[in-house]
């Protein structure tokens, strides 16, 4: 129904603006229904303006800026219709370390009500995990789970478990 969609859309819109500002430390964003007369079928446009920059098409954003914008939108939808858990597989691949800070702060906020399973190669991201599992292949081709403490992860991201499982 039109009304239901409009309400849900308005909620996501509010959350998106908030998430975007948190992840970028400023700037502006919006989601726009292309055709107000036909909300059940029209396209949905995404607008994003990082802080200090002029508004341009989404495509011109950098790799890291696109990641943050996408995360802001996904988390906005998530906040409007929460799922008990969220799985993030190397979502931080394009982020510089300053943005990983903002990204992980947002996750930490959500983590009070949402369970996250977060796969990463970046040591900085690992710092916000409550628990870390290592997945290794001692026998080639055979995966094994090991418990890992943050101290077991070396500066270069390698796991050297200090306690056997």
């Amino acid at each position: 129904s039109q009304r239901l969609f409009r309400e849900s859309f308005a909620t996501i819109q509010t959350h998106f603006k908030e998430m975007f500002r948190k992840l970028f430390g400023g700037g502006e964003s919006d989601i726009i229904l292309e055709d107000h007369a036909d909300v059940l079928d029209c396209a949905i446009d995404i607008v994003a303006r990082p802080p200090g920059k002029e508004l341009r098409s989404l495509s011109l954003l950098s790799g890291g800026e696109k990641t943050l914008t996408a995360v802001a939108l996904v988390m906005a939808i998530f906040k409007s219709n929460p799922s008990p858990f969220c799985v993030l597989d190397e979502v931080d691949a394009a982020l510089d370390d300053a943005n990983i800070e903002r990204y992980t702060s947002l996750l930490t906020e959500f983590a009070e009500t949402t369970q996250f399973i977060m796969i990463t190669h970046r040591k900085r991201t690992m710092t916000v995990a409550d628990v870390i599992y290592g997945v290794t292949m001692e026998q080639p081709g055979v995966s094994k789970r090991i418990s890992v403490r943050f101290e077991d992860v070396s500066e270069d991201g390698e796991i050297t478990p200090t306690s056997p499982d």
Binding site: L4, F5, S8, F9, I12, A43, I44, L58, K66, T67, T69, A70, V71, L73, V74, I77, F78, S80, N81, S83, P84, F85, C86, V87, D89, E90, V91, A93, A94, L107, T108, A111, Q115, F116, I117, M118, I119, T120, H121, T125, M126, A129, D130, V131, I132, Y133, G134, V135, T136, M137, Q139, P140, G141, S143, K144, R145, V148, V153, G157, I159
Partner: protein
């Protein structure tokens, strides 16, 4: 709330392997190719994903462990997700809900809810209204997908949230 994930013969997890989940953030780390994304595939698979492509395979039987380090192929793949349902978020009368899925080399497959054989439909009904995996699983390399999505794909995500 997720409690644990059990894998047995699923992709590179030939041996029975359990991941326990606490509240908050669980990190999964390890070298390239060690099996981390295979864990994500297992979660999608248990929740009813029907696309072999979504499992990065050509056929669904590609998720069955098919040999390594002298270990022979498995006869079947099995993955089980256990939920703590004390908040009754899932419409089932029990405080623990176990959702399992199996597939055999001949393609036969099975879904289980608390040990009872069920249909894919039952699995999907469990999760209606709780937020679908359409947006609660961001796959490797796919974070930008929602920005690049064609209009109808993007709409679907919004509609599922409504």
């Amino acid at each position: 709330m997720l409690q644990s994930l059990d894998l047995f013969g699923f992709k590179s997890f030939v041996d029975r392997t359990r991941f326990d989940f606490d509240p908050g953030i669980t990190g999964i780390v390890g070298p390239n190719g060690s099996g981390k994304s295979n864990v994500v595939d297992a979660i999608k698979w248990i929740l009813g994903d029907q696309s072999p492509k979504s499992m990065r395979g050509k056929e669904m039987t590609d998720v069955i462990f098919n040999g390594a380090s002298g270990r022979k192929s498995s006869g079947f793949a099995e993955a089980t997700l256990t939920f703590n349902n004390e908040n009754q978020l899932l419409p089932i009368e029990s405080s623990v809900v176990q959702i399992g899925r199996r597939i055999w080399q001949n393609g036969d497959s099975e879904y289980l809810i608390n040990g009872t054989t069920s249909r894919l439909k039952d699995i999907r009904n469990l999760f209606l209204g709780t937020g679908s995996s359409a947006y609660s699983i961001i796959e490797q390399g796919r974070v930008g997908a929602i920005l690049q999505a064609n209009p109808s794909t993007r709409r679907t995500v919004f509609e599922e949230a409504a």
